[in-house]
């Protein structure tokens, strides 16, 4: 039983295309996140949602649009992909961050995005 699952594992696409990455958690958590890990392995937060409400948008280009249909799902849609978007994208979840309970993150296995 995978706690945080994201699909696809690998995504290879041409510059200018639009793509989506899906994430689901079965831990009953209220808060979900998207992190980006670049080629130097630096893990940087992009967005977080708490119970379907956006609470962090870390100066990410408008081409990136997260969507949370319910608190167990947080998808990431990327428009007009650029070479610099190539990275590994990780979904994560935690207990309710607004209640100060976000003490540990559970991560998915990552989506390696390659833009050609």
């Amino acid at each position: 039983d995978t706690a945080v699952s994201q699909t696809p594992k690998y995504l290879v696409t041409q510059m200018g295309n639009d793509k989506s990455i899906k994430c689901e958690q079965n831990l009953g958590h209220d808060t979900m996140y998207w992190y980006k890990q670049d080629s130097k392995k630096f893990l940087k937060i992009m967005f977080s949602y708490n119970n379907k409400e956006l609470i962090i948008n870390e100066t990410v280009p408008n081409r990136f649009s997260p969507k949370s249909p319910d608190k167990a799902h947080l998808n990431l849609h990327i428009n007009s992909l650029e070479l610099g978007d190539s990275a590994v994208y990780f979904c994560a979840s935690s207990l309710d961050i607004r209640q100060g309970r976000n003490e540990k993150l559970f991560f998915g296995s990552g989506t390696q995005l390659s833009v050609l």
Binding site: V4, Y35, K40, K41, F42, L43, K44, I45, S48, I55, I56, E58, F90, A92, I97, R98, N102, E103, K104, L105, F106, F107, G108, S109, G110
Partner: protein, 111 residues
């Protein structure tokens, strides 16, 4: 802005010895620091959390310390094994509902 730094990109340790990794933070002390392990092609996995008012925390062969004077956390693996080879990430709460990560230290345990 809050920062967290792991100064060693890579560390080689002989099997059986104690590996010590360093994490430094800037500005005010976070309520807690966390340590994660990341294997190639996988997401980070939570290992330990240490709170500001705790000096030391242990879990099996792992030990974490928190020194608010030095603004530093040390992560120790005793009796290290090749299976401990991985990247270890330090993380802190930034005070605005974010958890931010250091760049990680790649640990190699040499047989």
């Amino acid at each position: 802005s809050q920062k967290i730094e792991q100064n060693s990109e890579a560390l080689n340790i002989q099997e059986g010895k104690t590996a010590t990794l360093t994490c430094n933070y800037t500005n005010y002390s976070p309520a807690y620091l966390q340590w994660y392990r990341q294997d190639p092609g996988r997401g980070p996995v939570f290992l330990l959390l240490i709170r500001e008012n705790e000096k030391e925390k242990r879990k099996e062969r792992l030990k974490v310390t928190f020194d608010t004077t030095l603004k530093q956390s040390l992560f120790h693996i005793t009796a290290s094994q090749p299976a401990d080879s991985a990247t270890y990430l330090c993380a802190r709460a930034s005070g605005d509902d974010k958890i931010i990560f250091g760049k990680g230290t790649r640990l190699h345990i040499l047989p």
